[in-house]
Amino acid sequence: MSIVLCRIDDRLIHGQVVIGWGRAMAINLIILVDDQVAGSEWEQELYRMAVAPEIEVRFVTVAEAATHMADWQSNGKRGLMLTGDVETMVTLRTTHPEVVQRINLGGIHHRPGRRERLPFVYLTDQELRSLQALEAGGAVITAQDLPTSPPVALRSLA
């Protein structure tokens, strides 16, 4: 198998990711692409505590992700790739469209400049345009916090 889910979630590794999606999709590899967490041992340790021991967790920078993408696509694991913001996922999609084909908006919360699109998705107009550009280029983008919730198409968030 390969990377089966690409998710944007500003809470990074937490219950919805590990329990909700991890179990439903039989995930056994979580890849957190975040430059800040990749440089913080204690934060990594804390995030690992949220994950069952049978699930491998990798903490990588955006640059490191680019060098490992091919391996993650062919290592036999079912991977969930996670970013904390839209910008990082846009970068990954741009550099590896063959990997980042479907994007899940899982949790993007309020910050100044963002507008509520769903209770768990707030986007600036620029973030929305960035995602729309990815979709125009072939990506499939939906908002869905949990597998048991109905997916909401990106066009409904405008």
Binding site: G15, W42, E43, H110
Partner: protein, 124 residues
């Protein structure tokens, strides 16, 4: 007399509010505990909520799970703060114990609250 400890309860969803309300009903003491929910906020916003609830006072922070977004938000900015201790696996028994022992140091109050919480877990 030194300042009494503040209790802060940080949980997913509506759990913190419900626990605080129940602890106040049982103890008859209001204001000793402040609830914080993770609903509707990202990591930074949750950290801000926790910091505001602690308010720079000596405190014990009770968290629902021993991992995840609530614990992360608490430890991110308070882990090196000597006047704040953190207890995970919050339950009603430990909150009630804490309410009546707020004149202890944060470490003492946290230790005995954790013990009270553990003792309350039984298969009768």
């Amino acid at each position: 007399m030194s300042e009494e400890l503040q209790g802060v309860v940080v949980c997913h969803g509506v759990l913190a509010g419900a626990l605080v309300q129940a602890a106040e009903q049982i103890s008859g003491v209001a204001g000793a505990l402040s609830p914080v929910t993770n609903t509707g906020c990202d990591r930074e916003a949750l950290e801000d909520r926790v910091i505001a609830a602690v308010g720079g006072r000596p405190a014990v922070v009770f968290v629902d799970l021993a991992s995840g977004s609530c614990l992360f938000a608490v430890l991110k900015r308070l882990r090196s703060e000597q006047s704040v201790k953190v207890v995970t696996g919050v339950n009603l028994a430990m909150l009630v114990d804490f309410i009546f022992h707020r004149s202890l140091t944060p470490e003492q109050a946290a230790t005995r609250a954790a013990l009270a919480g553990e003792k309350s877990i039984r298969i009768p």
